[in-house]
Symmetry: C2
Subunit: 215 residues, 2 copies
């Protein structure tokens, strides 16, 4: 297809596609004349992946390039792409001004030992968890840290499902893509289902039975 069709099909403007081409996020098309090139479904797929990383994952151009290089590097073991995707995602928690350092790091270390988790210090999840635990403490609710073992159990279920989905892919390219897509979108899937489960469990645990509603 031509650039104009690629744009119409993907919903991405020609100017943006040209920018991605210049930045190397989308591979060049097959040149048919000095001013024209043809694109195929692989270009369309890549373009959609780039948009998902930028618009949904919040990644910058440099981070996208790093993630795509991992996806395309057939010599890289697929499991390494998890770490690259994790590091590329922006840390969703900024520093809270004036919050004193708390005991988040110690609580997390104890969890890691209790669960027998093999996790490097550089894992980006560590900083996120420590920040949340420190914030619970600074907000006067250190007891909320006690939820961490249930959250860890849930995280193991989710991560196993993530890995199952990767293992089901037929080839390395598919596996690497699923790692990236699942890492970027899985947090939102989990957060959405958490809101639904909160409503359901609140209704069943707190609310009195009402006439006309499902018991």
């Amino acid at each position: 297809m031509r650039m104009s069709e690629l744009s119409a099909t993907s919903g991405v403007s020609v100017a943006t596609i040209k920018f991605y081409l210049r930045e190397g996020l989308v591979p060049a098309g097959e040149r048919t004349s000095p001013n024209q090139a043809l694109y195929n479904n692989a270009h369309l797929d890549r373009l959609r992946l780039v948009r998902a990383l930028i618009d949904l994952g919040g990644l910058g151009v440099t981070a996208v390039r790093r993630v795509l290089a991992a996806v395309d590097d057939t010599a890289m073991p697929v499991e390494q792409t998890f770490g690259i995707a994790q590091h590329a995602l922006p840390n969703p928690l900024p520093d809270l001004p004036g919050a004193p350092p708390g005991h988040g790091s110690e609580i997390l270390d104890a969890l890691v030992v209790a669960e027998g988790w093999l996790v490097e210090d550089a894992n980006p999840g560590r900083a996120m968890v420590e920040k949340v635990l420190d914030t619970y403490e600074s907000l006067g609710h250190p007891e909320l840290a006690s939820t961490i073992s249930a959250y860890a159990r849930a995280a193991a279920i989710v991560a196993n499902a993530d890995l199952d989905a990767v293992a089901l892919q037929g080839d390395r390219a598919g596996m690497a893509q699923v790692v990236v897509v699942g890492t970027v979108l899985g947090d939102t899937l989990a957060a959405g289902l958490r809101r639904m489960a909160q409503e359901h469990i609140t209704r069943t645990r707190f609310a009195p039975p009402q006439e006309g509603t499902i018991p």
Copy 2:
């Protein structure tokens, strides 16, 4: 304490505190002269909660006001504050341009029936889950929707832990605060632990045993 001390202890600038006072996010201090007022630990706690909602939760001033009104409304059943906190949080997923509508809604409806979940259509989690499922599909990986039952199981564990933490509070004020704080920060706690669990499970499932590492 005076305004200057409240600022020093909280790490929030005097100008910002004055803005919050004007907007009604922090209650007025006890006036001791036309130009001076005294603040106590309740003001400090409220100020920290406001910062957490804005800086960590990404809430705007109007959303913060709505959440605080729910926290302070002693006539409101605590379980209702969940919905208010959920609705106040910004939807983390913008629209992906050009993505065709997929089968996310049908897949989610089937899950809700299978799990027997009592969840209203207006629950903000629904739109998040549908968006993720539609995006999986538009990125050429509809099979990733199969992870949803494991994610739902994990969400139920997390939501039960959230509700347990609420039930442990001694009074309504504490319960409402824990609902808000846990709703805002729990997603990040879950996302951080997911990254750690992904690394651990990847190592134990994919990686060959190496000399010198814990087996």
